[in-house]
């Protein structure tokens, strides 16, 4: 889709973003996007190592790495508590925390690690969240979770909220269940991809120094998007619970 002279310089080559090209793996007849899976495994491994380092030989008085991980947990607990309220938040910390840490890890893995140095036959390594399949999976997971939260708390009475203010709003309330995952997934996907495309375009124009602030902005936006995704997930669960 790009014109041919877009790949003119080496710097551009190091920063080109390929949209819609994937490194396909054929697993049992299903085509999967290999580059996304590899980075996801890396992110999961990093998160696992971090948490194992933080919890192995845990001390009553935390220091070093344990201290850091506890402050991370505090941060996540605050997200859950602010949205869900004092009485319900405790059991949802694992879900919200997983969402936050995974998205944060993926965004930063895409922004911080110089993936373009590794060449693939097709496609390229990048943040897993710049593939719409990843974000849709996360968003659908959120949808199922808030349904589960509502149904397990209120049983079938949960569906009463569809006719809640007046029955006239029924179609809009049903529509909302579809727009929630749609907006969640598009927001994350678009933001991550927009960062990478901005860097690509800027690197194509001015290869040195100028893209740096945008890269920093990308790192910042990655963390804000993770915060927003987990906050919204918590808010949707809270909405189903109340």
């Amino acid at each position: 889709m790009y014109p041919d002279n877009f790949y003119s310089s080496t710097f551009t080559l190091l920063a080109d973003a390929e949209v819609g090209k994937h490194f396909y793996w054929n697993i049992a007849g299903n085509l999967v996007h290999g580059q996304v899976l590899v980075v996801i495994w890396l992110v999961v491994a990093i998160l696992l190592v971090f948490s194992i380092l933080g919890t192995s030989n845990a001390d009553r008085i935390p220091h070093g790495w344990q201290n850091f991980m506890e402050s991370v947990l505090d941060f996540i607990t605050d997200i859950a508590r602010n949205q869900l309220g004092e009485s319900f938040y405790r059991e949802w910390i694992p879900f919200i925390g997983t969402l936050f840490l995974f998205i944060f890890g993926s965004n930063w893995a895409g922004a911080v690690i110089p993936w373009k140095l590794i060449e693939l036959p097709q496609g390229e390594f990048a943040a897993p969240t710049n593939d719409i399949n990843t974000t849709v999976a996360l968003a659908l997971l959120t949808s199922f979770t808030y349904f589960y939260a509502g149904l397990s708390k209120k049983g079938l009475g949960y569906f009463k909220r569809y006719v809640q203010p007046i029955p006239l709003l029924l179609p809009i309330n049903i529509l909302e269940d579809f727009t929630k995952p749609l907006s969640l997934s598009f927001r994350l996907f678009g933001n991550v991809l927009a960062d990478e495309l901005t860097i690509t375009v800027l690197t194509g124009l001015v290869p040195l120094v100028i893209p740096l602030p945008i890269m920093l902005l990308g790192i910042f936006a990655g963390s804000v998007q993770a915060l927003i995704f987990s906050t919204l997930a918590a808010a949707y669960i809270a909405e189903a619970l109340e």
């Binding site: 889709m1 598009f186 996907f189 678009g190 936006a221 927003i228």
Partner: protein, 82 residues
């Protein structure tokens, strides 16, 4: 790809991101202005205001991002490109 379809897609992609930027631009300007006003009036609340502002700015930005997603779909995954 048919050249008419390419031309129309490129124009539509430009329009979709440009038009989608108008509303959020106004909204983000309003929000940031109000936040500055709030901080000037009550400097001790700065941290809380900043957090809320960043969160709501990101929500507004999402609207432009939807435009961007449409533009990207037109450029890279055009459904009419037979």
């Amino acid at each position: 790809m048919d050249s008419i379809i390419s031309a129309a897609s490129v124009i539509a992609a430009g329009l979709s991101i440009g038009l989608a930027a108008i509303g959020p631009g106004i909204g983000q300007g309003n929000a940031a202005g109000q936040a500055v006003e709030g901080i000037a009036r009550q400097p001790e609340a700065e941290n809380k205001i900043r957090g809320t502002l960043l969160l709501s700015l990101a929500f507004m930005e999402a609207l432009t991002i939807y435009g961007l997603v449409v533009a990207l779909a037109l450029l890279f995954a055009n459904p009419f490109n037979t």
